[in-house]
């Protein structure tokens, strides 16, 4: 019975051709927008989460508080220094402590220049290995630098392939960084994190020398002995630094972040983005739904006599109701399916365009079956809901009056 109603509804939709398609268009644009935006949003979230995955659960990051977004050191907050390092090292349960400098510097090559990120490699070979391991850095050609490789650098894949210099950088190429000459010792394998793909690594001493950095530390990475105590260690470091700086609780000018905390900050931002996307989606689907309701109302008016005839040959109110609801539901369903397919295509196209023009791999597409499934289901629901009023109106028509039309 229900199946017959489906074929009945399908025949009606087919016979209204252009009008049905226009109505479906109203829905699938919304669904396509939603699917593509969410697919890209989730892709971005995964990519960014990937950046943080480079820090495992037993590590802490300490940096000056106002570093916030943008490179550390770009703000006026008091930087960490050797004294602070001593305090951090004094906390029990702290195992390895690695200090990092991350700065922007002018890089010249092939008569072109560009500003790139520099990051330091510790002068201690144990700590250097620790950092390579922590960041999961792998070499694709050449070698990673060790504390003896003064004047040598390792570059990320994006730097090597950068179009800013008009010429590919290979192992052995010499680059001029802030007026000093450096030789490329290795090129990194592409990583999930675009920060790693766009970095220039050099020894800490070289970096301090080149950029004339004194007793400053941008970032301290701490490995704790027992990862279950990471929260306690973070609190203890916070307490000791606060006491040393004579700051009140809540007014610290530094931050101690666990990877989980850092991730939740990013997730908050991404959730807001998703919320906005959801809002746009809701509006566009509302408009699409009104389109369906409109089409169905017109259809009820046009088919009044048909409804009367169906009632005369034995259709009950619930039969008419079902036929019209299935019809509007199908408009939603077809719109949802086309929209989802189109959305997936759009997402890939947009991420490809974005990655090509920005030279990153940050814009990934993540298509989860649940996204497709819920988009189609949602669209179907919108169709049904939009059809309720017209369908009720149709089902309540009195047979005599309907036949008179």
């Amino acid at each position: 019975m229900i199946l017959d109603y489906f074929s009945l509804a399908f025949q009606n939709l087919r016979h209204r051709g252009v009008r049905s398609w226009l109505t479906v268009l109203g829905i699938f644009i919304g669904i396509a927008a939603v699917v593509s935006l969410i697919a890209m949003g989730q892709g971005l979230q995964q990519a960014i989460t990937g950046q943080f995955n480079t820090l495992s659960a037993d590590k802490l990051i300490i940096q000056s508080a106002e570093a916030g977004f943008g490179p550390p050191g770009s703000t006026a907050a008091k930087r960490l220094n050797e004294h602070d390092l001593r305090i951090i090292e004094s906390v029990p349960e702290v195992d390895t402590v690695v200090t990092r400098l991350i700065r922007v510097a002018k890089v010249e090559y092939n008569k072109a220049s560009s500003f790139e990120y520099l990051a330091s490699i510790p002068q201690d070979s144990q700590k250097a290995l620790f950092l390579y391991d922590t960041l999961n850095l792998k070499i694709s050609s050449g070698k990673l630098i060790t504390p003896t490789d003064k004047g040598k650098i390792v570059i990320g894949k994006n730097i090597a392939e950068s179009k800013s210099f008009g010429k590919e950088i290979r192992v052995g190429t010499h680059l001029n960084i802030q007026g000093k000459d450096f030789e490329v010792a290795g090129i990194l394998k592409p990583a999930q994190s675009f920060q790693i793909n766009s970095v220039i690594l050099m020894l800490e001493d070289d970096m301090k020398d080149t950029l004339k950095i004194g007793d400053e530390i941008d970032l301290v990475v701490v490995q704790v002995k027992d990862k279950n105590k990471i929260k306690d260690v973070a609190d203890e470091i916070t307490n000791r630094l606060r006491r040393d700086r004579k700051e009140k609780e809540g007014e610290e000018d530094f931050s101690v972040q666990t990877p989980v905390q850092a991730l939740s900050t990013v997730n908050t931002v991404l959730n807001i983005v998703n919320l906005i996307v959801g809002g746009i989606a809701a509006i566009s689907l509302l408009v699409g739904g009104i389109g369906i309701a409109n089409t169905m109302y017109t259809s009820v008016l046009e088919r009044t006599k048909e409804i009367g005839t169906m009632k005369a040959v034995g259709a009950q109110n619930k039969d008419i109701l079902s036929i019209f609801l299935i019809e509007s539901g199908m408009l939603g369903l077809i719109g949802g399916i086309i929209g989802a397919a189109l959305g997936v295509g759009l997402a890939y196209l947009a991420s490809f365009a974005a990655n090509t023009s920005f030279g990153t791999e940050l814009f990934q597409v993540s298509i989860r079956p649940i996204l497709i499934g819920s988009a189609v289901l949602f669209s179907f629901t919108v169709g049904i809901l939009s059809g309720i009023l017209p369908a009720v109106q149709a089902s309540r028509l009195k047979p005599v009056e309907a036949l008179r039309k």
Binding site: M1, D4, H15, T309, M310, G314, A315, P399, L403
Partner: protein
């Protein structure tokens, strides 16, 4: 078994038109025996169409009682009426009223769908009926691909889909030329010979007298007179 398939007892239908009340049908008694061919005659505005709607349970009376196969249907709910209509009454309309989006065969299948019959059963029966009205070669045509006479024959087939007790025909030849109209009448006449009760509303006295055995002449919402033939004209 009831002798009368349909009986109207002192039935009235009033419409409120602003301040005034229009008495479309005012105290009508009609008895239709099983197997009879009844015509309801009268000029437009005489109340014959309203009577027809009441007889066909498409409308409920303001006053009086309507019996269909011995059951009082004057106060039934719309969905119950729909079920009864679908099972016991077959409708033929002046303007055919075929569903334009469905093929001829699908139109014939429709009443059986609402009775919950299986697809195989519906198809088999529809094909049989289509052949009966001599449209076996037009099953998959849409209504707009058929002539008026052909459409009305599809409508006859549709009216017969649930093996109704009675066929209600509202000006069945009104939109057809004389010759095609006569052809449609022949089908109705044949059905009647096989035992189907037929009630036909018409304003054409010749057609009524040519085919019907009992004729109710209506005037101003009342039965003016009734004429009966002893035997059907052969």
């Amino acid at each position: 078994m009831e002798k009368n398939i349909i009986e109207l007892k002192n039935v009235a239908k009033y419409y409120e038109m602003g301040e005034s009340t229009v008495k479309a049908v005012d105290g009508v008694d009609i008895k239709v025996e099983k197997g009879d061919f009844v015509a309801i005659m009268g000029p437009s505005g005489s109340g014959k169409s309203t009577s027809m709607n009441l007889v066909g349970s498409l409308d409920l009376p303001t006053k009086g009682t309507i019996y269909l196969d011995g059951r009082d249907i004057s106060h039934l709910e719309e969905s119950e009426l729909a079920q009864i209509r679908g099972k016991k009454i077959g409708f033929i309309f002046q303007s055919f009223n075929l569903i334009p989006n469905l093929t001829a065969k699908e139109n014939v299948m429709l009443p059986m769908l609402f009775q919950g019959k299986s697809k195989e059963e519906r198809e088999l029966k529809a094909e049989e009926l289509m052949r009966m009205v001599e449209l076996g070669d037009r099953m998959d045509h849409y209504p707009n691909q058929l002539s008026g006479g052909q459409q009305q024959r599809v409508a006859i087939a549709r009216a017969l889909a649930n093996d109704p007790e009675v066929i209600l025909a509202d000006e069945p030849t009104g939109n057809l030329d004389t010759k095609t109209g006569e052809n449609v009448m022949k089908f109705l006449q044949d059905l009647n010979k096989k035992g189907t009760t037929i009630i036909m509303v018409t304003h054409d006295p010749q057609r009524a007298e040519a085919h019907a055995r009992t004729i109710y002449w209506m005037k101003d919402g009342k039965i003016d007179r009734i004429t009966r033939k002893k035997k059907a004209k052969m």
